[in-house]
Symmetry: C2
Subunit: 468 residues, 2 copies
């Protein structure tokens, strides 16, 4: 090779390398600029149009969406129509049988034996899965349990024939309210079962809430083992729990009466609602966004989980409306029966496996529609590092962090997902409304809800374009 | 010097240096541990006891605190008593004369000429400083201004004898609601003055709010220059503003009638409330915490600025209750008359200068009692860098950032303060309630409010112990 030829090749090589570097940088920076622009357009559209908030009003007008209820079926049809109207590529229902528990019309309690308080009503509401009182008032003395973990020390002699009153308060001193909930909810989940093992005839449970009003906060109990007799169980408002505790201190031998006509009615036909916008480069790589579409039957189920479901519905709407043409397929799944069975989540995962579907990521929104904070990721550290590079873009919608953490119940059953992601809004007010008549349309702030929509839509778009 | 002596001295020097380093580290880390412990105790006390939230209920029971009103004086006495009860080292009132504007009993508007809508009421509320309509209904045609900055192009011919309807909407597409407010509030501050210059006989202004309900959001106007005739001015609910705009589009020659009996009643005696916990090392170095104690007269003035004032009152309470014995003097100031005069702030600053007081820092809370986010600092970059080292401690109370930014109106007049600091909670819901009947006790969440208390108390303690 002559010296000149060699020099020429060297120059050529340098030019290619430098050119490549420049191109890579320009590409990267123009990509980023593009993402920033898209994130801006998502944010402005979300806040200005407040489409999801308008949908939430319609959904709440239908009523709460207890699994197996007529209203839950109306809501499923409403969502199916919304997906069709917005122009999704495919919309379908996944049939799934769900447990049907009904509250009935009677849930009453009052003091029946006391010096001064006979007839004093107590504000209660049946717990999910509870049996009724067979058309009679269950009347008995009351034994209070101030800390559920102490109940293991109680004896059959203390408990037999009694109504057990689980009265462990929500620990408001903890910064994270989910921690407070996790501690206090054990008495709701397992109290009646443990009480029944020692011969109790009913259980009442202090509402698991950060708000000291008198609204009962309901929720499901764990299923009674076959060997344990099912007893009626109800939540009681915090103010009345405090009253009852004080009364028991003054008069340990009071009695109260409870009447419930809730019942387990076997199973009912229900559905997951599924809709897709197909990816135009990798249509077989699926990104799921979703929440659970069933709710408790007090209030509207607005924060839990109506508004969060709608945030994920709006992801599809914005992909279409803002003409974002995602590279990968974005699928919204409204899972049925999270509250008392997880049947929808199980069935979705079963079908995904059966159909050999490739789930790249799944994003769940089930912590209320409050101001966005971050995303929890179930995935390896390298992946989390990679995703954290998107924070400057996600920050536009108030996302401050991406870190390792639990995602959500409904996406937990799907197998072989590269990243399971939980949207994390602020949690300070969640347990004020959770599972109660406080969880109404009016309790949702449109800007907070729509910022969540923007955060989830932007993350979904980034995953779709960049892959993970 | 012999070789051995030299070696010995070297070893000694090394020992001293290494020892010094170790000691410095140990000291630093044990100090930090101590601060972390204090921050924890402040957080737990704030969330568990919710003292400030209980005080807020008492304050809101007194009613709103319009400058010069009887209720504002009752509230001042209430605060003075609270400071005395909690055991402050000194408590005093600073007399200050404030403008006395009264709303009166009549603020009514309706359509008086139209094909179909004669008699249709419009939901209005007088703006602060407005004159009344002299016992009659001011009736005239209406000219709409959709964007205040366009009003400079309007002519006397268009405006003379008319009621000018400023109808610029709040820009909900902006992430920061204070930016939206800053844009739209110009029409409230200056609209009536500019309208009067062109011969208008009254002005109505679309409520400056992020919430599209029909509650009028009031607030003050700028003072009319002597050369400009004062005309009556009122805020109108957003729904009625939309109605009126649509009606004007269909029937440009409609007329409306307005009757107001608000009035400027000269001046009234009022007071700043001041209380101190003396520093036990540097009693002459003062850290001010505070907010403005007056409010508008719709709702309770709970977020603006009742709860934030109480957050700063609780700083003193916690210093005493948790036995924190601050090195520097911590002074809580409840400034009167921020809303329509800033007289309290001016008088406080005048007295501070007259008495040659040394103000190390001043922290203002006047952005509602929502979930904490950060602190804005008016101070040099080096100081901000220094303070950012406290973030891991402040993060316990949800403080994510410390950065350069505006502090607050009431501390703005104090001279020679090393750091003026503004507490910044989340702003997404603030302008839903601001200056309106929505700003009630019920709109404040106890956990959010108490986290703000913890954030401000922790920062105050750090400044007191570390200096700046």
């Amino acid at each position: 090779m002559s010296g000149i030829k060699f020099l020429f090749i060297c120059i050529l090589l340098c030019a290619v390398i430098v050119g490549g570097l420049i191109k890579a940088n320009i590409f990267e920076s123009s990509e980023n600029q593009n993402y920033t622009k898209v994130a801006d357009s998502i944010l402005v559209y979300s806040l200005q149009e407040q489409i999801g908030y308008k949908w939430l009003r319609e959904l709440c007008d239908i009523g709460p969406r207890l699994s197996g209820s007529e209203q839950s079926i109306q809501a499923i049809k409403w969502a199916e129509n919304k997906f069709i109207e917005m122009g999704c590529d495919s919309v379908w229902l996944q049939p799934v049988m769900v447990p049907k528990w009904v509250r009935g019309n009677i849930e009453e309690a009052s003091v029946t034996k006391s010096k001064n308080f006979v007839g004093r009503p107590l504000n209660i509401a049946s717990l999910g899965r509870s049996v009724g009182t067979n058309g009679v008032v269950t009347e008995a003395g009351v034994i209070e349990v101030k800390n559920f973990s102490d109940f293991k020390n109680f004896t059959r002699e203390q408990v037999e024939g009694k109504i057990v009153f689980f009265n462990e308060p929500f620990d408001n001193s903890l910064l994270g309210t989910f921690r407070g909930y996790g501690k206090a909810v054990q008495q709701r989940a397992k109290g009646a079962i443990e009480a029944s093992k020692l011969g109790a005839i009913a259980a009442i449970v202090r509402s698991v809430t950060s708000k000291p009003d008198n609204i009962p906060h309901v929720g499901t109990m764990s299923a009674f083992p076959d060997s344990v007799k099912q007893i009626p169980a109800a939540a009681i408002g915090v103010e009345d729990a405090e009253f009852l505790s004080k009364l028991l201190y003054e008069e340990p031998d009071i009695e109260i009466g409870i009447e419930l006509d809730c019942a387990n009615m076997g199973e009912a036909q229900s559905y997951n609602v599924v809709a897709e916008v197909k990816g135009n480069e990798f249509p077989n790589e699926i990104i799921v966004v979703g929440g659970h579409f069933d709710s408790w039957d007090k209030g509207h189920g607005a924060h839990d989980d109506g508004a969060p479901c709608i945030q994920t519905m709006e992801v599809l709407h914005q992909m279409i409306k803002l003409d974002l043409k995602p590279k990968r397929t974005i699928r919204c799944v409204l899972f049925i029966n999270e509250e008392n069975g997880i049947r929808g989540a199980i069935e979705y995962a079963r079908l995904a496996e059966e159909n050999n579907e490739n789930h790249l990521a799944a994003i769940e929104s089930d912590r209320g529609a409050f101001i966005p904070q971050g995303f929890n990721i179930e995935g390896d550290d390298e992946l989390i590092d990679e995703m954290q590079k998107w924070l400057p873009i996600l920050n536009k919608a108030k996302i401050d962090w991406i870190r390792k953490g639990g995602s959500g119940v409904d996406i937990s059953r799907i197998k072989n997902v590269t990243a399971k992601i939980g949207f994390v809004p602020d949690d300070q007010r969640y347990f004020d409304v959770h599972h109660s008549a406080n969880d109404t349309f009016e309790s949702v702030n449109p800007r907070e809800m729509q910022l969540g929509t923007a955060a989830i839509t932007t993350l979904t778009y980034l995953i779709s374009e960049e892959g993970i």
